[in-house]
Structure formats: structure tokens, C-alpha cells
């Protein structure tokens, strides 16, 4: 049975909105603040988070048996406003798990600190290090982080996640799938109507689609800074497609084994999820 249920989502979605004069456990940030991170908010946003977390735990359990969360240290790398940590923290199974959040966005961290009990937050910058101790962590996940990183920060953060994980620990990261190139082309050619400013920005990304496909199929990371954002330089942050071969080669070199590669194309358009285990 899935760890997180629709009831969890409902309970969290119905918590009051965080106002300036009331800062209580599990209060939500305002709609506009949530939307800044992944485009969704409240139930939609929690739903996406629960799907990702359930998927990750399912795959880990398939690989190494039932997870005993007691004493486990779990890091949400790029925690944003903390929707995933809120979900985890509200589960009794994780009452004795230690939860950590890292993000570069100071306001998001502040909201997380005020509203998420018993979780520890630290600020990261565009490049490593993070503040956490080596060999300390059992599971680190990064949702919609490596989907935005150029090759140099991607590799440096992969190495950093390897540093903080204990041997045998897991990392689950998401990347954009191959058909993201076509997705952008569809907006450009008008075959798919843009529904928001992000779609309009994507129309300008990965313009030479033939070359992008070639590079992707050759195992290269394919990066475009047309969308930009996140207050980070265009050499670091944009949209990134990383093929399975890239993850296997480079993360493998850093002591990871690729455990699972989950790719889902249209109509769902989910980010591809790579589960890796630190083996040495």
C-alpha cells in the first residue's frame, strides 16, 4: 500500500493560508508563492509531490525490502516551499525519521522553518558544498532540480549528493525526458497552444531540435537557458535533458549504481525519475 494517501493531501490542502500574523505548523504559503515553484498549488501540488514520493519509496522497497523509517535521515534537496517535507512530516511512520531541506531561495526556507516542525533547513548556492556532514544521509531526493542544471553544476551536485549519502543510501533525481525537445517545438510551431508564460518561454528553447536529439542520443546532457529564472546565471540554470546513458556513465563514475529509470511520455508528461544507490 502506498505510504501517502489522498487523505494526507486533503488534510494538508485544507490547512489555512499563511498570513503575516499567524505562523502555525503546516500552514501553507499563499497560492502565488506556491505557483512560483512548480506552477501548481495546494491539492495539485501536493498530489504531484505524493506521486513522486510514493514512486520513490516503492522503487526503493522493490530493490531492498521494506523501509524502516526509524532513525533514517532524508534530505529534500531543492525543497522549495516544502510540500514534500510537509507530506513526510505529517506521517506517523516518519515520526522518528530526521528530515532535512536544502534550498537556495531564502523566503522559501523561511516559510519552511516557520511552518514545518521538526525538520532542519539550510541554504545552498548555485554550486556545492551543502552544510551536511559526509556519509550522513540515507535518502536524498531532488525533484525538479537536475531538470534545470547545466552539465557543470549537475556533475558537482551529483558528487556532493554522493558525499552526504552513506554507502547503500539512495538518491532519486528527476530529469526532463527526450520528448521535451518536441514539446518545445510544438509550442514554437503552434501545434500545441501555450497555456502559460512558461510554455511561451519554452517555444524559444531547444530550437535546433535535430541537433538536440542527436546529442541526447549520443548520451550528452542537452541544456538550454532560454527559460532561465531562479535568480541563477544562465550558465547554471535553464532546462536540462539528461539521458540514461549520461546518468549511468557519470554517476557511475562517482560510485552510484542506477537502480531504476522511469520515463513516461505523453499524455502524462512527467519528469523522468532516476533512482540511484551509492555503492562505494
Amino acid at each position: 500500500m502506498a505510504l501517502l494517501t489522498e487523505a494526507d493531501i486533503k488534510a494538508l490542502s485544507e490547512k489555512p493560508v499563511l498570513e503575516e500574523n499567524e505562523l502555525l505548523d503546516f500552514h501553507n504559503p499563499p497560492h502565488a508563492f506556491q505557483q512560483m515553484f512548480t506552477g501548481g498549488s495546494f491539492q495539485t501540488s501536493y498530489n504531484e509531490a505524493a506521486m513522486f514520493l510514493n514512486h520513490m519509496f516503492d522503487r526503493i522497497e522493490e530493490h531492498s525490502g521494506k523501509i524502516d523509517f526509524r532513525g533514517k535521515r532524508i534530505v529534500d534537496f531543492g525543497c522549495g516551499w516544502g510540500r514534500m517535507l510537509r507530506l513526510l512530516r505529517s506521517r506517523p511512520e516518519l515520526a522518528e525519521a530526521e528530515l532535512f531541506g536544502c534550498d537556495q531561495h531564502p523566503e522559501a526556507l523561511r516559510i519552511c522553518q516557520k511552518t514545518i516542525p521538526n525538520a532542519w533547513f539550510s541554504k545552498t548556492t548555485a554550486y556545492p558544498p551543502c552544510a551536511l556532514r559526509s556519509g550522513f544521509v540515507d535518502i536524498v531526493y531532488a525533484y525538479s532540480v537536475f531538470t534545470h542544471l547545466n552539465e557543470a553544476p549537475h556533475l558537482l551536485w551529483a558528487s556532493e549528493l554522493g558525499r552526504i549519502l552513506r554507502p547503500g543510501g539512495y538518491a532519486c533525481v528527476t530529469v526532463q525526458p527526450r520528448d521535451f525537445i518536441s514539446f518545445c517545438k510544438d509550442f514554437r510551431e503552434g501545434t500545441r497552444p501555450p497555456k502559460n508564460p512558461w510554455h511561451e518561454a519554452l517555444a524559444k528553447a531547444f530550437v535546433d531540435d535535430v541537433d538536440c536529439f542527436r546529442r541526447y542520443d549520443a548520451g550528452e546532457i542537452v541544456f538550454d537557458d532560454a527559460v532561465g529564472g531562479a535568480g541563477v546565471g544562465g550558465d547554471v540554470y535553464g532546462d536540462a535533458l539528461a539521458p540514461k546513458a549520461f546518468i549511468e556513465k557519470h554517476w557511475g563514475r562517482m560510485g552510484f549504481k542506477l537502480v531504476d529509470w522511469f520515463e513516461q511520455s505523453e499524455p502524462f508528461r512527467l519528469q523522468t525519475r532516476a533512482l540511484l544507490q551509492k555503492v562505494r
Partner: protein, 280 residues
């Protein structure tokens, strides 16, 4: 000129008291909550913190020249309700300084997270490790922490502070001084009047005064668990009187240089302040 002024103290001491439904930056915990930590509250508590912090920075500057706060990483080890971090966070000189708080008291951490902005907090337990990465920190201070630790946790935490400090980084810790043994006897024989419950507990501590003094003068850490508290077992937490010779022997062996051992002359019962540097 000292870094922190009485104006800083006044400004913080007059912030409103926090309650369950509002949590603003720099709101204070209630008087009773503050007193649970050092017996004092508001202006008195901030003043005590100010004196300690100013002393730390003055002694560091005397040892190695003007202290440039930009980019420095400072840890308040045993941050309690955060009075010292509040003071530091309000200073413009430290706008670009990374502040960290470590504490074992869950309620104090939660309160700090709600009311102290731009500080990363994490929970520690009786023995190391803490969450922070090795060689990461420029300064660790621990006010009224080692004054309570028995020799095994004292030495374990000394080693842990060494681990997280950068080479050349400083640590300042406080311990009870020799006169504390006689103070307890004075409460016991009535030559000093007891003014609170803590004094009453102290009257039952360090009963064999002559033996305690002998051991102190021989360079031993002298520990008594009569006052107990802090939710820790009595082999860990009590009152600890630590001579200079103990630091010279044990901290030096760990790779520290003793920079300064200061016993405030104005108050014979004030804790001794010990400044050490991790050897480069």
C-alpha cells in the same frame, strides 16, 4: 569599540512576546521559557549574551587582527532560545555571515525557527555527531554548555568541534571555575543565602570540598550531577568545573591551541571563558 551595544539589547528586549497564534521575526519567548535556560530573561539575558559575544570577538581580534564577518560561518552550540543568535542576526556587520544554531531542546529549536530569521538550526543529542560537514565552520561558541558536561561528553564534543572547524578556526566555550566549589559549600553552610531553587540544588553539590579542590588543582574535570536537568542522564549532565590545565592537556591533544583562559574578575562566580584555535 564593542560590536554589540546596549541599544541592540534594548531593541531586542522590548520586542513583543510570542504566543501560539503569531510568530514574528525577533519576537521573544515568554519570561518563564527564557528563565528555563539561564535563570534570567529579557534585558538581563541579552546583556549576559552581549558581554560574552563581545568578549569572544575582542579576544579573537587580539589574537589575529580585525575580524571580517563577510562569508564567515558561525555556530552557536547550545543555542537555547537563541538570544545570542538574535543579537548577531540584527547586526549589519553580519548580514553576509552564515549563522547556525545547534540545540537538543526541541521546544527551543521550534521557537527559534519561528522567530530567528536566516539562521539554520538543527537538533543535537547527548553525544556527537552534529549534522554539519567537516572543516566548514569559522567559529563555534558554546555558552554554558561545557559548564554542564561530564568528561566523556566534554571530550567527545571537543573532538566534534574540532571536526567541523576550519583549520585556523576558533572556538570559545565556558566552564565553571574553582570558586564554584566554595560557592556550593557557602549555600550549604548558610554563609550565602539561597535565592532560588538552583541555589538550593547547588547546596547539595560538590560535598567533599577538599577533595574537589584537590582534583581541580591536579588538572581534573570535577563533575557533580546533583543539579541534573536538561532531560539528560546524570552521567552526562550536571555541573562541571574545568581547570586550565585540563584544556592544555586534552584540547591540545585534539589539535587545538589554547589562546585565552579568562576568569571575569568582576564576578567571582561568573563562568570562565576559554578561547581555543584549531591549529592550521
Amino acid at each position: 569599540m564593542p560590536l554589540l551595544t546596549e541599544e541592540d539589547v534594548k531593541s531586542l528586549a522590548t520586542k513583543p512576546v510570542i504566543n501560539e497564534t503569531d510568530s514574528f521575526d525577533f519576537y521573544n519567548p515568554s519570561q518563564i521559557f527564557q528563565e528555563g535556560f539561564t535563570g534570567v530573561s529579557f534585558e538581563t539575558a541579552y546583556l549576559e549574551a552581549l558581554r560574552f559575544l563581545n568578549h569572544v570577538f575582542e579576544k579573537i581580534e587580539a589574537d589575529s587582527g580585525p575580524y571580517n564577518f563577510k562569508g564567515k560561518r558561525i555556530v552557536d552550540f547550545g543555542s537555547g532560545w537563541g538570544r545570542m543568535l538574535r543579537l548577531l542576526r540584527t547586526r549589519r556587520e553580519l548580514d553576509e555571515t552564515f549563522l547556525y544554531g545547534c540545540e537538543q531542546h526541541a521546544g527551543a529549536l521550534r521557537l527559534c525557527e519561528k522567530t530567528v530569521p536566516r539562521v539554520c538550526f538543527s537538533q543535537t543529542s547527548s553525544f556527537p555527531p552534529c549534522d554539519l560537514r567537516s572543516g566548514f565552520i569559522d567559529l563555534v561558541y558554546a555558552y554554558s554548555v561545557f559548564s554542564h558536561l561530564n568528561a566523556p561528553p566534554h571530550l567527545a564534543w571537543a573532538q566534534e568541534i574540532h571536526r567541523i572547524l576550519k583549520p585556523g578556526g576558533y572556538t570559545c566555550v565556558t566552564v565553571q571555575r574553582r570558586a564554584f566549589i566554595s560557592l556550593c559549600r557557602e549555600y550549604r553552610d548558610g554563609s550565602k543565602s539561597m535565592q532560588n531553587n538552583w541555589h538550593k540544588l547547588l547546596s547539595g553539590a560538590f560535598l567533599d570540598e577538599a577533595d574537589c579542590l584537590k582534583r581541580y588543582d591536579a588538572g581534573e574535570l570535577v563533575f557533580d550531577y546533583s543539579t541534573g536537568g536538561a532531560g539528560l542522564t546524570n552521567d552526562v549532565y550536571g555541573d562541571a568545573i574545568v581547570p586550565k590545565a585540563f584544556f592544555e592537556k586534552h584540547w591540545t591533544r585534539l589539535g587545538f591551541r589554547l589562546v585565552d583562559f579568562f576568569e571575569p574578575p568582576s564576578n567571582i562566580h561568573a563562568q570562565a571563558r576559554v578561547l581555543l584555535q584549531k591549529l592550521p
